[in-house]
Symmetry: C2
């Protein structure tokens, strides 16, 4: 089992998300996360998909995706040679006694307090998945009221962009 | 036309993303962004969907979503009373001449430089959509090589969580 991070360029049509998601669910492939957003060219969107599986399944996923008409490019983001980030918002229960220690944890992780209420703090944090997991595990001691995550997105390190990688 | 930010709690099944996305595309509703991630309860995920439309269409969207079996809760995040954030990674062309001014722009927006190469800088920025748009518009002067976005995610402000809002 390994982790696959795919960066795919798709046409920005109303059906593309449902077709890509449908391909995964019909074949029983598990998506760990999927994010999508328009690129510098408004007619194109870029999706970042994280999936786990053995090499055979991951190869199948890539082949099946490349058959979709809306999918223009598929690139696997190399683990050591890409920057991947996710955004998480966490609302944690806080009391006058616990507030300072929660803020301390947030500071250590360079997270931002974005809302303060009488009984809760809302924290914004970005990072790779290991960092985010360490952070949320620490907060479990304080009762997490709500957590929302965007899923992972990423780019290749260095000057190359995905178009160049495809030309090679 | 107004903007709708829906926070929906769904069962964490392999088909739920495809069913929700399919509902939008079959009816020709345009999704501006969709993010999904597991919650503190691993059997449940939370999706944040941004859509534009008139009141009638947005009401239809909510009704149709509530008919899906996987969908457990639907809440519209109130515009002034919620914190919404998106994560964007931008790779910008840079030269020894332009590097300093790009870093200056990043600093003003509290963005982070996460990769430096001979001919490019990669920047991580989070914020609400207006801030992100202002930032990317400024960078257009420097040739954006690549841009990836996660889509918007959000939480209610204050102590209330979405479960409480539903009980009211």
């Amino acid at each position: 089992m390994r982790r696959l991070v795919l960066s795919i360029l798709v046409e920005n049509t109303s059906g593309v998300l449902s077709r890509v998601a449908g391909l995964f669910s019909r074949r029983g492939y598990n998506i760990d996360s999927l994010t999508v957003g328009v690129t510098q060219d408004p007619s194109m969107s870029r999706m970042t998909i994280v999936a786990y599986g053995d090499d055979q399944i991951l190869d199948q996923i890539k082949k099946q995706l490349s058959k979709l008409e809306d999918v223009k490019q598929i690139v696997e983001l190399p683990l050591g040679d890409s920057v991947c980030r996710e955004l998480v918002l966490v609302k944690v229960e806080s009391t006058p006694q616990t507030r300072a220690s929660i803020i301390e944890i947030a500071d250590i992780f360079r997270a931002k307090i974005i809302d303060v209420a009488t009984e809760s703090l809302t924290i914004e944090i970005t990072g790779e998945q290991a960092k985010l997991q360490a952070f949320t595990e620490l907060l479990l001691n304080y009762n997490i009221k709500e957590i929302v995550r965007t899923g992972l997105t990423g780019l290749m390190r260095g000057n190359d962009d995905i178009h160049k990688l495809l030309e090679q």
